[in-house]
Symmetry: C2
Subunit: 315 residues, 2 copies
């Protein structure tokens, strides 16, 4: 009997598709990426991924019998690990059984999940929550993504909306419109774009001195850097940002009470300076039973998705 | 080989302990209850339960070989389906491995869980979420309890705080102190006592006419009844109550995206009048992906806990 020793992880993004060949015991053998062709509603996406995977198999002299399968993360909700709801970031690509279509092309088992959910799974498999059974993963970039793993299983939800933490309302009085159609979502406060927006509003609405004045364009890194240099307004903005996250995490813990909370994404480059502020806010708001939840920074960075894709096949 | 056809469900409450003998295919054979003796830190609780179970086995000519086990719900957090953190409502009874101690006395497998979590499990097994894979159960009584089941498994959490929805903060500006130590918890607004408190405040702070004036003592049923008779202030209060629940459910769905939300507990006697208002608020606040979640009233009422206890053993 053939022992299937390898597994592929794929992370389909709006501009780039990352791929990795892993051993089933969790070692990354090779990683690479290809351009995501989202033209024509992404009609070439699966052909391109399949060609790249088949090419990689050949280069390692692997056949379909050596491969346990491929797990692919996509930027949108997924039902039953197969059906992808059309993705806004991929010109509405989706609306069909992606697992079936990719499996047909590469000749192995394929499972599909939301990309943030797979990043969560990757972090619990080989990242900073390794050895834990449950985590909440939150990714702070242009938006706020989330993934939840309980008892080593992804909480993807009945409608693929499990872990959509960025769309929890943290301010019911807010008039900040979110892309989801609601107002006051966490994403409007705890994302890079939310931070810039809050900061521009604060700079306009007061004439208090700030080392940020005159810097254009502002971005999240600059604001964090000036906060670290003790600029008052920047510090206030970063505190507000962290506080909205801390409050949201306190609410999330009343729902699923994870072992670990991991913060990743571009903004998490602010490191322990950010993590400590979020934790401080969390401790002020959390249900007493959850005060011992561990806070960690993500470890796998851009590779979390491909790790999670590989692990999905092995579950 | 002996086929174990029966299972016991036990619901340990502050004043009464409910018990039920079930067939393993989900039929309630007999139910009864005994007084909960919480004196001396509840030192007689397990002896009394064991005596009652053993008496019931005798009356049905059952031996330990006929019984698959017993599942018991307790009013507090539980770790690993066995260790009970001391219960406030039972004079600090707990702090030990209840599964082991009860198992030793009755000679069968015993599993332990939080009572609201078991009520959730009961409703998904034989109640109004029968046939579903995931639900959020919320029980509206003196306080607000919650239980979550995902993929037919209870989300009890790393610290036993899974489903503690009553302690999600729904008003960060609030100065309403909760028993948990925090302020603005859902329980302070969406419980019977929260509703009475809000109503008394509203009656005191204005002199607007209301059919509630002069009624003493007020309770949740009276306020709902007057709202149903179109008293303005009562309607406002019930709307506020339902809105805090609808908003909280919208946040919960961004975390775990269940198939069904079930509302139970004493206040749920207000029926579809309440359910419709909660759903209306939910639809106004929910993440679009979750708009199709089903809202239902609990069906098993006071028996949900014993059903859940029995099912816990069968998982």
């Amino acid at each position: 009997m053939n022992i299937r020793k390898y597994v592929y992880g794929i992370d389909l993004g709006g501009t780039t598709t990352k791929m990795g060949l892993f051993t089933t015991d969790g070692n990354l053998v090779e990683k690479w990426s290809i351009h995501t062709d989202s033209k024509q509603k992404g009609s070439n996406i699966l052909d391109n991924i399949a060609a790249s995977i088949i090419g990689n198999m050949k280069s390692h002299s692997l056949t379909a019998f050596d491969i346990q399968g491929a797990g692919i993360g996509v930027p949108g909700p997924v039902l039953d690990e197969r059906y992808v709801i059309p993705c806004v970031n991929l010109n509405q690509w989706g609306g069909f059984d992606v697992a079936h279509e990719l499996s047909r092309r590469i000749g192995t088992v394929v499972k599909v999940e939301n990309d943030a959910n797979l990043a969560a799974l990757g972090e619990i498999w080989q990242g900073s929550a390794k050895g834990s059974q449950s985590l909440v993963f939150i990714t702070l970039g242009t938006g706020v993504g989330g993934g939840i793993v309980m008892d080593n299983k992804i909480v993807s939800g009945k409608h693929g909306a499990g872990g959509e933490i960025g769309h929890m309302c943290v301010n019911h009085q807010s008039d900040r419109q979110c892309s989801c159609g609601n107002k006051g979502c966490l994403e409007q406060y705890a994302s890079a774009s939310g931070l810039v927006r809050s900061t521009l509003e604060a700079l306009t609405q007061s004439d208090c001195p700030s080392s940020l004045r005159g810097i254009s364009p502002l971005n999240a890194k600059v604001i964090f850097d000036h906060a670290k240099m003790n600029d008052d307004l920047s510090t206030q903005m970063v505190d507000q940002f962290s506080d909205s996250l801390g409050k949201a995490m306190a609410m999330v813990c009343c729902v699923c009470d994870p072992e670990v909370i991991i913060i990743g994404g571009g903004v998490s480059a602010a490191g322990h300076y950010l993590l400590d502020k979020v934790k401080t806010s969390f401790l002020r708001h959390a249900f007493p039973g959850c005060l011992n939840v561990k806070f960690r920074l993500a470890k796998l960075r851009n590779d979390a998705g491909i790790y999670g894709g590989a692990k999905l096949v092995l579950l």
